[in-house]
């Protein structure tokens, strides 16, 4: 069996080798390594996102959500840059995974198309509104932080209240999905059979996806935490297919809202490159570890981190607009 080496892997290895080379050169040329301010920050961001990338799959939450929530609370960058970097990280993650899902039939454009028709435009609007708020109002960043804090709290409640189902029972298609002919199938190795599924409640799901798209665009979040329960519980898509379909939706939605961030200068390479690298490598390590063990303490840690991020963001926001003084 030949070994497959993908281009990103080569690029990542090359970059790591270049970085190692620069560090060794610094050590041997000067006798000691003196790091400039930006170098310290680049390494710090990389390590920070690497850790997030590792604990993301172990906890079951996407790294982008932890990055944006925690990053806004503790990192010194402007909220524009954190959201831009979060969006790029979420996009690269989904673009990496989605092709595989799609080729195996787990995600299908027939299911995705009617949903992204709505969510794409709302994610663009969300991006516009988010950047408009942070750039137009003197305390715009504070408003963004408060609303992100509330969204993160909502996310925790949503995670806790939605009990997903492996294979939901769909007795009858709704009219719209019947007209569109939405059905899906994939080969499930654990059953050794082809699983076929159909969907329901498409109009309701489209309305909800509009809101999710808006939130994803506004805060630069991946929003898989919202997509999966909607697909699974509202539309009756099997859980495995829901996760796959969510990836495909993220790849499309995040791309659309990223254009708003690009046009507003909210993509800063000094933050984006170490973030994409850190979350990319970390999530691969995390996903390997997740196969063997999923320690509950990590889940508690991430729940705690998201909860604390939410509260800190709200407090910082309230202080920013002068409502409280701590």
């Amino acid at each position: 069996m030949g070994t497959k080496i993908s281009i990103p892997v080569v690029a990542i290895v090359t970059l790591i080798l270049v970085l190692c080379g620069v560090i060794f050169w610094g050590i041997f040329a000067g006798g000691h390594l003196t790091l400039l301010l930006w170098q310290k920050w680049a390494i710090l961001i990389f390590l920070f996102t690497l850790v997030i990338g590792v604990i993301g799959p172990l906890s079951g939450v996407g790294g982008g959500v932890i990055f944006v929530g925690l990053g806004m609370a503790i990192l010194p960058f402007h909220v524009d840059f954190i959201r831009g970097a979060g969006l790029v990280a979420a996009l690269t993650t989904s673009l990496n995974s989605a092709p595989h899902f799609t080729k195996k039939g787990l995600s299908s454009m027939k299911v995705v198309a009617p949903l992204v028709v709505v969510s794409t435009i709302f994610s663009v609007v969300g991006g516009i509104v988010g950047l408009w708020v942070s750039n137009t109002f003197p305390q715009g960043s504070s408003y963004v932080k408060i609303s992100l804090g509330v969204v993160l709290l909502l996310m925790l409640v949503a995670l806790g209240t939605s009990k997903n189902v492996e294979y939901p029972k769909v007795k009858k298609n709704d009219k719209l999905s019947e007209i569109l002919g939405i059905r899906g199938s994939w080969y499930e190795p654990t059953l050794n059979q082809v699983v076929e599924y159909r969907v329901t409640n498409l109009p309701i799901a489209m309305v909800i996806f509009a809101g999710v798209g808006f939130i994803a665009g506004m805060f630069g979040l991946g929003a898989g935490w919202a997509n999966v329960p909607i697909l699974n519980l509202v539309m009756g898509v099997p859980l495995k297919a829901s996760v796959a379909t969510s990836m495909l939706i993220l790849a499309i939605n995040d791309s659309a809202s990223l254009w708003v961030y690009l046009a507003n200068g909210a993509v800063l390479p000094l933050i984006v490159v170490p973030t994409v690298l850190g979350i990319g490598i970390g999530s691969r390590i995390g996903s390997r570890l997740a196969v063997r063990t999923k320690p509950k303490v990590i889940k508690y840690l991430v729940i705690g981190l998201i909860g604390i991020s939410a509260i800190v963001n709200i407090l910082q926001g309230l202080m920013g607009i002068g409502w409280i003084n701590i």
Binding site: T92, T102, K104, M109, S162, Y187, T190, V195, S246, K299
Partner: protein, 286 residues
């Protein structure tokens, strides 16, 4: 006995840490997502989880009943989202599958068989360990077995879009990391990374004005300076963001009926998202 009763009463009156944590977010329980999940749960889950005996008449207990505990939260987080961030979701599927499956029954359901199944690693788990090459992708371990070709008809448009995503992602990442490496060497005189660190707490538009003296408007501010590795990294990001548009353009000729119309609408939306900053100044500095 009396002391014990008083103790129990005090214990009932005082909230536990879990209860306090639960009560912290009552505002949201009645909002958008919560009722939705409850309603849907009723529609789809045949077998409700056993919640145990619940005391009534106590507001705190009622709130506790409605809101999830930390344990429930942790449990719920695992299955759903393990597929995110490149996580393999194979293990979860194989382990949890027998819990709930109203329509599809596995071939063997005898007790011994189930136990043996539990003890032995699933194909996914084996593949995960044996084939690290594919671990970069979420469901990769299940892929390349010949059985996967059984009766699964993948529509051409899905294949096309998958190929486009893979190609664009690879190209975009290579550009980002290649020029990222050049950018971090600091060879380009126009990049003052220390100044960027000092100014990165400013809003994006102000940042670029202070650091590079450019007015952010549309895409010309980075497209026109392609000799700057920093701009090239942003161009790499743009390549990633172009993926759905390119994919849709390739898919449209292969699609038919309503799907073709939907793809055309998606294409128009993307064109709007890309051109919007060029044709109007809406949304910040758009």
């Amino acid at each position: 006995m009396v002391d014990k009763k008083i103790g129990e009463k005090i214990k009932e009156l005082l909230p536990s840490m879990d209860e306090l944590a639960d009560v912290m977010a009552p505002t949201y329980a009645g909002e958008a997502l919560a009722p939705l999940s409850e309603r849907i749960s009723t529609n789809f889950i045949d077998k409700q989880p056993d919640m145990g005996p619940v005391k009534t008449g106590n507001t705190l207990t009622k709130v506790k009943k409605i809101l999830p505990s930390l344990d429930e939260l942790a449990d719920v987080m695992t299955p759903t989202y393990a597929g995110e961030a490149l996580a393999p979701l194979s293990e979860r599927i194989s382990v949890n599958f027998t819990d709930k499956q109203p329509d599809i029954q596995p071939a063997r359901v005898d007790g011994v068989g189930e136990k043996v199944k539990e003890l032995l690693p699933s194909m996914d788990e084996l593949a995960d360990v044996m084939a690290p090459t594919y671990a970069g992708e979420a469901l990769a371990p299940t892929t390349d077995s010949p059985a996967l070709n059984l009766d699964v008809k993948i529509e051409p448009i899905n294949r096309i879009f998958a190929d486009v995503m893979r190609a664009m992602c690879n190209i975009g990442l290579v550009v980002i990391f290649l020029f990222g490496a050049l950018y971090f060497t600091g060879l380009y005189p126009g990049d003052n990374l220390n100044l960027e660190v000092m100014k990165w707490n400013e809003p994006a538009t102000m940042f670029w004005k202070d650091v590079k003296g450019v007015t952010v408007n549309g895409y010309s501010w980075f497209l026109m300076s392609f000799t700057d590795p920093e701009s090239d990294v942003i161009i790499g990001t743009s390549i990633l963001a172009l993926t759905p548009l390119v994919g849709a353009l390739f898919m449209i000729p292969q699609s038919k009926g309503v799907l073709r119309i939907l793809l055309i609408v998606i294409t128009i939306e993307f064109v709007y998202a890309i051109l919007r900053p060029l044709i109007m100044s809406v949304g910040g500095v758009g």
